[in-house]
Subunit: 134 residues, 2 copies
DNA sequence: GGCTGTCGATTACATTTGTAATCTGAATGC
DNA sequence: GCATTCAGATTACAAATGTAATCGACAGCC
């Protein structure tokens, strides 16, 4: 890569999303596009935030290149640029990497030990494994 | 809770451990107790840190109540006060909670999809499941 | 057409985190 | 005993994060 691309740090999803920002993303993954006010309806109730807080988080997410804006009259509609599954995958792998040296089995063992696995989970995991082995 | 307990924020493990701090904990979980210099031997190489950085992180971990110190001549020996498995369990559950609404199965599904599961992992997970069902 | 409310944008500010330099006091070498 | 050295402690400081107030512009009401 000789010539650096003009768009400075704009690869969608490259930036790290903080926990507060994640709450906002979650709202937008649930439904999009939404206005800032709509997002606030959801997250302000959940987290006890005020409107300005949500505005800030939205701005930062736009800056980070993970939200797209389109004008709608005088306000903006916000849409995620990265899929939830991509984010979730990245975060999961990051954790497995950091805590279990990349091996997923110990993770499961820990969850099992912590009784974080319901019988339903177990059944579903078995189903998944069966499918993977096909 | 009428009367607040006297010990101000001293419950071991209640505090959040940052990622840099985690690297230090990891070294001490590997072997303990260790002096600051010994910890540095490990992590400074891994992360390109300098001694003062390690000192700071150690101090913060002591403050947070997750490391214990015992004097050894003129230096300190540092020992973890929380078990690695406890930390790992907390972090795992936090992630599962945040990303999958507490259900572990979708986590596994994501790891599977991301090919983060080796055949060994799969075998071991099956073994775990079998054991849990007993 | 001016007032008011409503947007997004800008600015603010405390806390946490990452990374480190400097200070201070005790041990050690001579 | 006194200088040197080597601990931990204190201080520093920029970036990221959490949380929000304020500003400036435009839309709609009267």
């Amino acid at each position: 890569m000789a010539t650096k691309p003009a768009s400075e740090g704009a690869e969608a999803g490259a930036e790290r999303i903080s926990e507060a920002e994640h709450a906002v993303m979650e709202a937008l993954w649930q439904r999009s596009p939404q206005t800032a006010a709509e997002v606030c309806d959801t997250v302000c109730a959940e987290r006890g935030w005020s409107m300005p807080t949500v505005k800030t988080l939205l701005s930062r997410l736009v800056q980070k290149g993970v939200l797209d804006t389109q004008p709608d009259g005088r306000r903006f509609l916000y849409t995620p640029l990265i899929a939830r599954s991509a984010y979730v995958g990245t975060e999961s792998r990051r954790l497995v990497e950091r805590l279990f040296g990349g091996r997923a089995a110990p993770l499961l063992a820990h969850l099992a030990e912590a009784e974080a696995l319901t019988p339903d989970d177990i059944a579903e995991i078995e189903r998944l494994l069966a499918e993977m082995k096909k």
